[in-house]
């Protein structure tokens, strides 16, 4: 019963994915309406020093590096990499600042808001991304991303409001699904967990559909 249900869901999602891919290819042939943003290609550096300050690495090198970090987190900490839980803990800690009885909430009884391994992971992530951006000369204040600017104009308020709403939806989805693109999408799938594969498929099918609605219909 469970097998059939999971199989059915996967077939439906893959079919929808195929339709969207076909649609995008036919649109690409007709001349895409989406603005093409020029981004630098990954460079091939000649020394480690140059590599560390390069603006962009090959996605395969980056993915391999993240895979090695997964090994380390399993071996050294008996943990899996996941980002979204840290925000739930931060929200809980912020709420505790304004409401003293908030720790009694059923959710915080089960997922205690405190600075733990996952929270430190996201803190490290922020510092790591900052160091990477600064050392490669890539750090700059960007009010609106170029793709959005080209399609919807450069009013920061509209983009920020959209991002705020997107963030709210994203967090509710992550908590319902029990993980995000790192927790389910990398850590769960690599352990071959069934619900993580289903979750990741859902993330991308729904993400692709929504992006098509936003950029091909609304904007």
């Amino acid at each position: 019963m469970k097998t059939k249900l999971a199989f059915g869901i996967c077939v439906c999602l893959i079919a929808l994915g195929c339709v969207l891919v076909g649609e995008s290819w036919s649109q690409a042939r007709d001349g895409s309406s989406v603005p093409q943003i020029s981004v630098p290609q990954a460079e091939t550096p000649h020394s480690l020093g140059l590599a560390l300050t390069a603006r962009r690495w090959s996605p395969y090198v980056v993915g391999f590096g993240i895979g090695l970090l997964v090994w380390l987190s399993f071996l050294l900490s008996n943990k899996t990499i996941g980002a979204s839980g840290a925000y739930a803990k931060s929200a809980g800690m912020l709420e505790a600042l304004v409401r003293s009885d908030s720790r009694q909430k059923a959710y915080y009884q089960k997922f205690v808001p405190k600075i733990d391994w996952e929270w430190m992971l996201v803190a490290g992530l922020i510092v790591g991304a900052f160091v990477s951006a600064v050392t490669s000369g890539d750090f700059r204040v960007e009010w609106v991303p170029p793709t959005w600017d080209a399609a919807a104009g450069h009013t920061p308020f509209l983009r920020w409001l959209t991002a705020l709403i997107g963030g709210i939806i994203l967090a509710i989805g992550a908590r319902l699904a029990g993980g995000c693109t790192s927790g389910h999408g990398i850590s769960g799938t690599l352990q071959l967990v069934v619900i993580s594969w289903v979750a990741t498929l859902c993330f991308f099918v729904s993400g692709v559909a929504t992006a098509f609605i936003i950029y091909r219909i609304i904007l």
């Binding site: 050294l76 929200a91 991303p145 993330f203």
Partner: protein, 185 residues
């Protein structure tokens, strides 16, 4: 297993920070902390995001299964219900495209100076997490219980050994990469 190391609480927090540092550094170097790259992935015009994720999956999967075989690590499958996972996953996808970042990359984006991530995305995720904690008691006994799956893994589901699945998934990922490179995506 390095159980002695796992028990050292303060050192563990430091290791978490160090692994996070590497994670953030790599995400920024891979340009997946950029709205433009993530939206291009969701519009299927650039496959950087999937290349990063699937290479990490491939590397991690092979390593973790070897380590598990030699009892160096134990697996941590997530528990969950099919109801919560499918509904939550589809909602997450909508947020993914509207925000243009995911929970990990939004922090990295804020750190590289993307103001939409800092001023919009991060507060949004905190608000969304708070809303969930408020409605959690209503969901706990209903949607989040619907069709409980526990920690079932693909090898158990189809009744074969780990290695067969690891090899098949590895081959499929490499074929997918071959197709992407063939079409210059």
């Amino acid at each position: 297993m390095l159980t002695g190391l796992h028990a050292k609480k303060r050192l563990q927090l430091f290791i978490g920070f160090a692994i996070g540092f590497g994670f953030g550094f790599l995400l920024q170097k891979g340009w997946v902390t950029r709205y433009d790259i993530i939206i291009a992935q969701l519009l299927l015009t650039d496959f950087t995001v999937l290349k990063v994720m699937l290479t990490a999956l491939l590397t991690g999967m092979v390593g973790i299964h070897i380590f598990e075989h030699y009892k160096l690590v134990e697996l941590h499958p997530k528990e969950g219900s099919m109801g919560g996972t499918v509904v939550g996953g589809l909602i997450f996808g909508v947020g993914f495209a509207v925000l243009g970042y995911c929970p990990g990359t939004v922090s990295g984006a804020a750190a590289q100076g993307s103001m939409d991530a800092l001023a919009g995305g991060l507060p949004g995720i905190l608000i969304g997490s708070w809303i969930f904690s408020e409605v959690y008691p209503k969901l706990e006994g209903t949607l989040l219980k619907k069709d409980k799956w526990g920690k079932v893994r693909i090898p158990e589901l189809i009744g074969v050994g780990n290695w067969i699945v690891v090899v098949i998934v590895s081959i499929l990922i490499m074929v997918f990469f071959g197709v992407l490179e063939r079409f210059n995506l």
